[in-house]
């Protein structure tokens, strides 16, 4: 498709379950970001990929969170043993520009997000 696609759009999990959220970025986009957006808040950075390399994972809140982009296109964010505080919208964004382009890497195309509710 023409835009960033995320699935599932909605996910309800019981506390302790594992979840996997998928992001299909715009074809050819080098950079891929995951953000977490809690209710009423702005997006918060989780992790960054340049092609298949995960160059920054400083925003991942705990070791229960894991992200991968094995072939430099589709990415998966996995959350193990979900907790109620993990409830949020998880946003994926991609950019044509690599890290070296610095400011232009901030020109992001966002997906509609995956809303995770942990009961």
């Amino acid at each position: 498709g023409a835009g960033v696609s995320q699935s599932p759009r909605y996910k309800v999990a019981k506390r302790g379950q594992d979840v996997a959220l998928r992001c299909d970025p715009i074809s050819g986009h080098v950079s891929l970001f995951w953000y977490q957006q809690a209710l009423g808040q702005g997006p918060e950075f989780l992790t960054y990929f340049q092609n298949e390399a995960q160059l920054d994972k400083s925003g991942l809140p705990s070791d229960r969170f894991f992200a991968e982009r094995p072939e430099g296109s589709v990415s998966t964010l996995k959350i193990q043993r979900t907790q109620q505080e993990d409830s949020a919208v998880y946003l994926c964004a991609s950019s044509l520009f690599p890290r070296a382009a610095s400011g232009r890497t901030g020109e992001l195309f966002f997906g509609e997000g995956s809303r995770l509710t942990v009961l």
């Binding site: 970001f33 702005g42 964004a93 890290r99 610095s102 232009r104 901030g106 195309f109 509609e112």
Partner: protein, 115 residues
């Protein structure tokens, strides 16, 4: 560490009135600045950006913003709003030479345009 403060969480305004959404940032180094808009049930969309050069930048849908380095502000303005401008607006900053262009977002301002 960087931070972004959007001074108004909600801004109600009548159609065709002017509007200003305020954004202040804090950073120890030079930054790039962005405004993103999120329409209901849609993903965030880039509205405009300041990378360098003229401090007055124009974006889509008639919006503009002015970078003020001394006041560390990047306020968003539109001279006449439409009902269709109703959305959540996010100011964001990234540091020059930041590894990966990570954006730090403000908490958002909900613009509500009334007829």
């Amino acid at each position: 560490a960087q931070s972004v403060t959007q001074l108004d969480s909600q801004v109600p305004v009548f159609e065709e009135a002017p509007v200003e959404l305020r954004c202040n940032y804090s950073s120890s180094v030079s930054v790039y600045l962005f405004w993103y808009v999120q329409y209901p049930n849609q993903g965030l969309q880039l509205l405009l950006k300041y990378l360098s050069g003229s401090t007055l930048v124009k974006g889509i849908n008639g919006f503009e913003a002015e970078f003020n380095k001394s006041q560390t502000s990047f306020h968003l303005r539109k001279p006449s709003v439409h009902i269709s401008d109703t959305a959540e607006y996010f100011c964001a900053v990234s540091e020059l030479y930041n590894q990966g262009g990570k954006l730090i977002f403000g908490q958002g301002t909900e613009l509500s345009v009334k007829p």
